[in-house]
C-alpha cells in the first residue's frame, strides 16, 4: 500500500473530453515522485486534484489510507508550492510563513519557534521583515518553500516551481530542493515539463501523455528502457532518433548493416539515442551528411542526413557543414518499438 493512492481517477470538464483517464498511481512514503509530460497532458490537473483544488469526477484519492475526495484542501494536510509562488504581497516574509499556522490556531510561541527554524533551514533569516516585492526570484522561491515546510505536512506538492527562475538559479534551486527532501524526508510530488528536472530530482518518474500514464519508473529505467516511443522521445535531449523500418526474415537493414531482431516480421520503429552514436569504432557504421552543427562547449549536436533520413548525433567532433562523416554505434544501443 502506498502513502498516497490514486485509484482509477478521471477528470473531465465536459463529459466527452476527459482530461485524466482512469489513472492509477501509488506514491510511497518519503518518496520524491516527479510527474513529467508535455503541456496539456493533465499533470497539473492531477496535482491539483491531490491538493483538493480540483474536483475529482470519478475514482478515489487516498492519503495515508484516508479517502480525501471530499476533504477541503486545508483538511488534507498537504502543502503546495505554486509556479508563481503565490506569496501574499502585503505580508512580510514572517507573516507569509506563519499564515497557515495562524489559521490552524497554533500558539504564538510555537509559531515563532517554527518560523525561526524554517527560515534558518532555508537561509532566509535576514529577510523575515521584507515584503515579497523586495525579494529576488530565488528568495521568493525559498519563502514559498518555507511556507510549505513550516507546517510539516503529509506531502509536498510542487507545481512547476522552478519555471519562473533563470537557468542558473533553476539549477541551484533544483539541487536545494533535492537536498531538502533528503533532509526532511517528506513525501513529495513534483510536476514539471522539464525532463532534466525530472531526471535529476526524482526517485521515480511518472511520464504522462494525454491524461494517461505512459510509464512509471526510476530515472534509469525511464531512460534505459522507455516503454513507448513517446517516452523515448520525451526523455533525453536531444530526443531519440526514430526511424520506421521493416523486419524481414528476423532482420532489419539499419542503414546498410543487417541487424537481427527478435520481433516478428513487419514494420517497426527503431530508436537510437543521439548520445549512443559515437566516434569510436563499433558494430555498425553509418555515413552521415552533416547539415547543421550546434556547439554546446563540451560537445556538439550534429544534425545530418543518413540515406535520406534526418538524424541527430551528440558528439565531441566538430565536423564541417555539408561534409560526409562516419559514425559508429553498437547493436545493443538500438531500441525497437513495435
Amino acid at each position: 500500500m502506498g502513502y498516497i493512492e490514486i485509484e482509477k481517477v478521471s477528470k473531465w470538464y465536459k463529459k466527452d473530453h476527459l482530461i485524466i483517464k482512469d489513472l492509477t498511481l501509488s506514491v510511497a512514503k518519503g518518496e520524491f515522485l516527479v510527474i513529467v509530460g508535455p503541456s496539456g497532458c493533465g499533470k497539473s490537473t492531477l496535482l491539483r486534484m491531490i491538493a483538493g483544488l480540483e474536483e475529482i469526477n470519478s475514482g478515489v484519492i487516498k492519503i495515508e489510507d484516508e479517502v480525501v475526495n471530499n476533504l477541503s484542501p486545508a483538511d488534507r494536510d498537504i502543502a503546495m508550492v505554486f509556479q508563481n509562488y503565490a506569496l501574499y504581497p502585503h505580508m512580510n516574509v514572517y507573516k507569509n510563513l506563519s499564515y497557515g499556522l495562524k489559521n490552524r490556531k497554533v500558539p504564538k510561541d510555537i509559531i515563532d519557534k517554527k518560523v525561526k527554524e524554517t527560515s534558518k533551514l532555508l537561509q532566509i533569516e535576514e529577510l523575515l521583515d521584507r515584503k515579497p516585492s523586495e525579494l529576488s526570484g530565488g528568495q521568493r522561491q525559498r519563502v514559498a518553500m518555507g511556507r510549505a515546510i513550516i507546517r510539516e505536512p503529509k506531502a509536498f506538492l510542487f507545481d512547476e516551481p522552478l519555471s519562473n527562475l533563470d537557468a542558473k538559479l533553476r539549477h541551484q534551486m533544483r539541487l536545494e530542493i533535492r537536498k531538502l527532501h533528503d533532509k526532511l524526508g517528506i513525501t513529495s510530488i513534483y510536476v514539471t515539463h522539464d525532463q532534466v528536472e525530472a531526471m535529476t530530482l526524482a526517485d521515480r518518474i511518472v511520464v504522462m501523455n494525454g491524461g494517461r500514464v505512459e510509464q512509471i519508473g526510476t530515472p534509469d529505467e525511464i531512460y534505459n528502457t522507455p516503454a513507448s516511443i513517446f517516452v523515448a522521445k520525451f526523455m533525453g535531449t536531444p530526443p531519440m532518433n526514430i526511424f520506421q523500418m521493416k523486419i524481414s526474415d528476423g532482420k532489419i537493414d539499419f542503414f546498410g548493416t543487417s541487424v537481427e531482431i527478435s520481433n516478428p516480421d513487419g514494420m517497426v520503429f527503431v530508436g537510437i539515442r543521439p548520445e549512443a552514436i559515437q566516434d569510436a569504432r563499433s558494430d555498425i557504421v553509418i555515413e552521415v551528411l552533416v547539415t547543421m552543427v550546434e556547439r554546446l562547449g563540451s560537445e556538439n549536436i550534429i544534425y545530418g542526413e543518413c540515406q535520406g533520413e534526418q538524424i541527430v548525433i551528440k558528439s565531441k567532433k566538430m565536423p564541417e557543414k555539408n561534409n560526409s562523416m562516419q559514425f559508429y554505434l553498437s547493436k545493443e544501443s538500438i531500441y525497437i518499438f513495435s
Binding site: 491538493a51 483538493g52 483544488l53 477541503s72 484542501p73 486545508a74 498537504i78 502543502a79 503546495m80 505554486f82 509556479q83 508563481n84 503565490a86 506569496l87 501574499y88 504581497p89 502585503h90 505580508m91 499564515y99 497557515g100 489559521n103 490552524r104 515584503k131 516585492s133 511556507r147
Partner: protein, 284 residues
C-alpha cells in the same frame, strides 16, 4: 539661478490665473464672513478679515437658527458628517463584499446579477426617489439616520471597480490561502481587503464628497430640523436672508458655506496621503 524660460513663464501665468479663479470666491467669502452683517450690506464683499470672526462662527455653530430656531450649525455639521461617513463607508463595505461574492463564489446567475447591478448605473438617484421615499415612509424610516444613509449605500460603480480588481488577483492566491486553511471570510479580510486598501481609500474619498453633497435625498427624507444637513442649512439661511424680515445676515451664510467646504477639503487632504502611500507600496 535657474533661468525661467518663456514657456515655463507662460505655463505659470495660466496656472496662476486659474488658481485665482478658484481661490478668489472662496477667499472673499471667508474674509466677508468675519465682518458684521452691517458692514457687508453697506460696503459689499470684503477682501480682508474683519474683527467679527469669533462672533459669527460662535453664533452659527452654537445658536439655534433656522425658521424654527431649534437647530445649530454644529448639529448640522454632525449630521453631514454622519451622512458623509455612513454613505462612504457603507458604499465601500457593500460594494467590496458584493464584488467578492460575484467574483469568488460560483453561484448560478452570478454574471447576470452583476450586469443587473451594473445596469443600475444608468438610473440616477432622482429616477427612483419617489419609490424609495414610499418604501422608507412605510418602514417608518423618515427622519432617521438609517433612512438617510441605507437607501444610498448600494453602489454599482463601486461593485464594478472591486470586481475588476478582484479579477486581477491571481487564482493561486486563493488556492494558497485555501491550503493555508483560510476560510472564505479569512481570505476576504486577510488577503483581499489589505490588497485593495488603496482602492477602498480612493472610493471612500470620492464617495464621502458625493455623500456630503447630497441635497435632494436629505431634503425629501428629513422634515425635522434635527436631521437637517449643512447643505440644507445653507439653503435655509440664504432663503431667510432674501425673504425674511430681519436684517440679512450674510456673514452667517458665508460662514456656513465655509464650514460646508472645509470638511471635504480636510478629508481629501488626509486620505490623499494614504492614497498616494498605498499607490506607491502596493502591488499584486
Amino acid at each position: 539661478m535657474k533661468e525661467i524660460g518663456f514657456s515655463s513663464l507662460r505655463t505659470h501665468i495660466i496656472l496662476i490665473i486659474f488658481a485665482l479663479l478658484f481661490i478668489v470666491p472662496v477667499w472673499t467669502i471667508l474674509a466677508s464672513s468675519t465682518h458684521t452683517p452691517v458692514t457687508i450690506l453697506r460696503d459689499g464683499l470684503q477682501f480682508w478679515f474683519g474683527d467679527n470672526f469669533i462672533n459669527t462662527y460662535k453664533s452659527i455653530l452654537f445658536e439655534h437658527s433656522g425658521y424654527t430656531k431649534n437647530v445649530t450649525a454644529f448639529r448640522m455639521l454632525i449630521n453631514s458628517l454622519i451622512l458623509g461617513f455612513g454613505f462612504a463607508i457603507g458604499k465601500v463595505v457593500i460594494s467590496s463584499m458584493a464584488a467578492y461574492a460575484i467574483v469568488y463564489f460560483r453561484f448560478k446567475l452570478a454574471n447576470f446579477l452583476f450586469w443587473l447591478i451594473f445596469l443600475t448605473l444608468l438610473l440616477p438617484v432622482e429616477v427612483r426617489i419617489v419609490p424609495s421615499f414610499e418604501v422608507l415612509s412605510k418602514l417608518n424610516l423618515l427622519n432617521s439616520y438609517t433612512g438617510l444613509i441605507v437607501p444610498l449605500i448600494a453602489s454599482a460603480t463601486g461593485t464594478f471597480f472591486f470586481r475588476q480588481f478582484y479579477k486581477s488577483v491571481p487564482d493561486e492566491m486563493l488556492e494558497a490561502a485555501k491550503i493555508d486553511g483560510a476560510n472564505s471570510w479569512q481570505f476576504f479580510i486577510d488577503i483581499l481587503v489589505p490588497l485593495s486598501k488603496t482602492m477602498m481609500i480612493a472610493l471612500f474619498i470620492v464617495m464621502f464628497i458625493v455623500g456630503w453633497n447630497q441635497y435632494l435625498w436629505p431634503i425629501m427624507m428629513t422634515t425635522k430640523p434635527e436631521y437637517s444637513t449643512l447643505l440644507l442649512g445653507i439653503k435655509e439661511i440664504y432663503q431667510s436672508n432674501f425673504e425674511g424680515t430681519y436684517l440679512p445676515e450674510f456673514n452667517k451664510a458665508f460662514a456656513m458655506t465655509i464650514l460646508a467646504l472645509i470638511v471635504p477639503v480636510v478629508i481629501v487632504i488626509i486620505f490623499q496621503r494614504w492614497f498616494i502611500k498605498g499607490l506607491v507600496d502596493s502591488e499584486k
